[in-house]
């Protein structure tokens, strides 16, 4: 088979004020027609840069400094802008991550399609172009295509929009498609459809496809061959079974090992040297004698959280008349109990209401109806009462976004010490500092982190600061709202390990919210599956994975990426 694309020795440099960053170094890749190449790597690996470099759309100040890009035997490097414009769209199509922002919001889908078709097909009549647009929409699985031409992007759902994006990428009948994280912004169920669509198009049209992704699951589902990138270099290339099943490079190994397994539960993720913070060089404190451990003595035995018939709706569109108002039933008659010391999982797709439930329990929202009891105390009826406050203090939360969950204007010391100082949990400032240092040590950051600011830390490190802050008020319950979904998979593994350790040491009760079933399987004792604000099923973890009772649970489980290629770690 001839090579559609052959990249060899590609270097991409970004000149920044802190010196030149080599985003790609000596990258060599090939793509053949009808083949899906998965370009996988964690953030900062340089994988998107490759995609952009191929079509010469590198963002300033990036530039290709060495190597060659042969496309259908022609060198793409050094082409003029006008020549590249004829390549883009006509011969190489691109698909980007976020369908919400990839389409011009002020133009109808039809207009954007027709515009692209007219550009790529040269002279073509308006009617022809429109027919072709309808054809394309139908090909990507959009029904009533003719009517949909007149619709604006915001009138499509996320998955539909991504289909439109794909249609646009196909409009010029390209030979190569570069899809940059095409499913990252989508829910799992839609993710699978889009991947299927891409794969199908690849086969039917004998397209070459490069899928750029951080998600091993996506790779496992769609890729024929895989190139693994790490810090700008391709460390390993091979067919998908080999890479996932028998990786040879150390980095690939650790990466694969860090992927949460959906098929069985592990005690811990194995730590691998390649992973940042994977080994914890810092001293850990002895919980039994430490200030932090004192809360354990208060531990009771009843349920930690009980909720009954919880309801909450949001107003989407205000209106004078009730019938014109648009309401969203975000939480619909939800009841469950979390026992002291257990890890309880809440899973569901985006919009299922799982985060809202967490925020209701944390007191960030007031429910429209229903009961919440934290450590046996009613926290809804009289949220300002002393008992409710005490109960709430026993509950802390860790958030999804490591970047926005820390106040950038405060030192780590002040962030972590805030609850200690506010509740006067210690008598002296020196003691507070000591405790903060210990906490930072314990979460694997080191006491010296205290005097720095959040922006000096990476995502995973910040999540550790969040955890330290949560621990500082000596909680008995920890709510973790997608704590790792913004992190790279290897970092995720270390954070999940940390959470597991802490839970065991401190006997914490954990409410663990995630959309990621494999993660939930690793973390939780019991799981509630949520959909459209309601609960479908509450089961023991192993029961759920082996014998789901609810249809939706089964559906979700089916959509889990096939990981059977993964070897034994």
């Amino acid at each position: 088979m001839t090579e559609l694309l052959k990249i060899s020795g590609l270097d991409v440099d970004f000149d920044t004020r802190r010196g030149t960053v080599h985003a790609a170094r000596g990258v060599s890749l090939t793509v053949r027609p009808g083949e899906v190449l998965g370009l996988v790597g964690e953030s900062g690996a340089g994988k998107s840069t490759i995609g952009n470099a191929i079509v010469d759309l590198l963002e300033s100040p990036g530039r290709v400094s060495a190597g060659s890009i042969l496309f259908e035997g022609e060198e793409l490097r050094g082409r003029s802008e006008a020549e590249m414009r004829r390549v883009r769209g006509d011969r190489i199509g691109m698909i980007f991550q976020d369908p919400q922002t990839s389409l011009n919001p002020l133009m109808t889908v039809g207009a954007q399609l027709v515009e692209t078709i007219e550009k790529t097909n040269g002279k073509i009549s308006g009617a022809e172009a429109e027919n072709r647009a309808i054809e394309l929409l139908e090909q990507v699985g959009i029904t009533e295509a003719k009517a949909r031409l007149l619709a604006y992007p915001h009138q499509f759902s996320g998955g539909m929009r991504q289909r439109v994006v794909i249609a646009l990428a196909l409009a010029g009948d390209p030979d190569l498609i570069i899809a940059d994280e095409p499913t990252t912004a989508l829910d799992v169920s839609i993710q699978a459809q889009i991947l299927d669509l891409i794969k199908q198009l690849c086969r039917e049209r004998a397209l070459g496809v490069i899928i750029v992704t951080h998600d091993i699951g996506v790779i496992a589902n769609i890729a024929d061959r895989v190139a693994v990138m790490y810090r700008g270099e391709v460390v390993e290339t091979g067919d998908v079974a080999q890479i996932l099943g028998a990786p040879t490079h150390e980095y690939t190994k650790s990466l694969i090992a860090a992927v949460p397994r959906a098929d069985r539960k592990l005690d811990r993720f194995s730590s691998v040297d390649y992973i940042e913070g994977g080994t914890t060089p810092f001293k850990r404190i002895d919980i039994q004698t430490h200030w932090l451990g004192e809360s354990q003595r208060e531990r009771g035995s009843g349920p930690a959280i009980e909720i009954e018939n919880l309801d909450l709706s949001f107003t989407l569109q205000k209106a004078l008349l009730k019938r014109n108002r648009k309401m969203l039933q975000a939480v619909d008659d939800v009841s469950f109990t979390v026992n002291e010391g257990e890890t309880f999982g809440l899973v569901g797709e985006s919009g299922s209401g799982k985060s809202t439930v967490a925020r209701l329990i944390a007191g960030l929202y007031r429910p429209d109806g229903g009961q919440i009891r934290v450590i046996g105390q009613d926290v809804v009826s009289h949220p300002k009462s002393a008992t409710a406050r005490t109960a709430r203090r026993a509950l802390q939360m860790i958030f999804q976004d490591p970047y926005s969950s820390l106040n950038a204007r405060m030192r780590v010391l002040d962030i972590v010490a805030e609850p200690i100082r506010f509740y006067r949990l210690t008598d002296r400032e020196s003691e507070t500092r000591k405790i903060v240092g210990d906490l930072l040590d314990h979460v694997g950051l080191g006491a010296s982190a205290a005097l720095r600011y959040p922006h000096e830390f990476s995502g995973g490190q910040r999540q550790r600061i969040s955890i330290a802050r949560a621990l500082a008020s000596r909680p008995r319950i920890l709510i973790c709202d997608e704590p790792t979904s913004a992190l790279d998979v290897s970092v995720q593994a270390t954070i999940l390990n940390l959470l597991k350790d802490l839970q065991q040491e401190l006997g914490l009760t954990m409410l663990f919210i995630s959309h990621d079933l494999p993660v939930v399987r690793q973390m939780c004792d019991r799981i509630a599956v949520m959909r459209n604000g309601g609960i479908c099923e509450v089961s023991d973890t192993e029961t759920l994975f082996s014998a789901p009772t609810h249809e939706y649970s089964r559906h979700l489980l089916d959509l889990m990426p096939r990981m059977d290629l993964l070897g034994e770690a």
């Binding site: 994280e181 944390a362 960030l364 958030f399 926005s404 969950s405 506010f422 010296s448």
Partner: protein, 317 residues
Amino acid sequence: MSHEQPQERPQDRPLTRWQRFKDNDIIWSFLHSPGAMIAAAITVFSILACLFAPLIAPFDPFDPSQISLWDGKLPPAWVEGGQPQYLLGTDNQGRDMLSTILYGGRLSILVGLAAVCLGMVLGVTLGVISGYVGGVTDAVIMRIADVQLTIPGILLAILINGIGRAFLPLELRQEFAVYVVIIAIGLTDWPQFARVARGATMVEANKEYVQAARIIGLPAWLIMVRHVLPNTLRPVLVIATIGLALAIIAEATLSFLGQGIPPTTPSLGTLIRVGNEYLFSGLWWITFFPAIALVVLVFAVNLLGDWMRDALNPKLR
């Protein structure tokens, strides 16, 4: 995903304050933007020159006993007929132009700063409360801001000023003219600040660190002051800088219209108004130098604000 994060820097020990200061993107951008540095230099220089006018200026133009009418209308020193002690000439009253401009600039800057501070304190307070508390409080505050915006600032300033002057007892009018101008300009400024602060607050209030603070159990006022407020200050700072330029212009305009600072203790605007009457009679320096001083001052502040806006907008970096 698209923008590559360079690898983590070694973090052996915490940076010193100075290192952190220098490493700050904004400071870095500042140190590498000649326009910003020139602007800052001019701004700092003008502000210092004006603030220390009593020390620098060769004469005290506000002290009538130092003025000799016979020295009036002298051209700049380098023009024929000029006298060396009056570098930029004298005005129609015999005041040294250089001193008058320094003192006038001082007044303009002080009025501008005070007005912006008033607008900022009022606006940011209301804006943060409005954005954080929301609901009826928000609606009320923002409607008031709407009404305020419905009446253009300069009109309102003229009006407040006119009313202030009509209201105040005669003997207080002179003394309070400056304060009336400050209040007039400051009051017209606050909705700007309120809107920006409210917007930023609403963004910040939804961020998880604020939720974390709420979960810790901090009271709303403490969250607003300690968490929200410091994080809204960047956009507010931009508005404040541009607001300062506008306030200086507004003061000058009011004074030019004869509604502002009285001519016995003239601001730059008053000087231009008075000088304007001599534009055709050949005494160009009476209006030219204050006008240049005003434009340079405002330009420098604007340049600074402009750069700040770009520097603080990560998307354009």
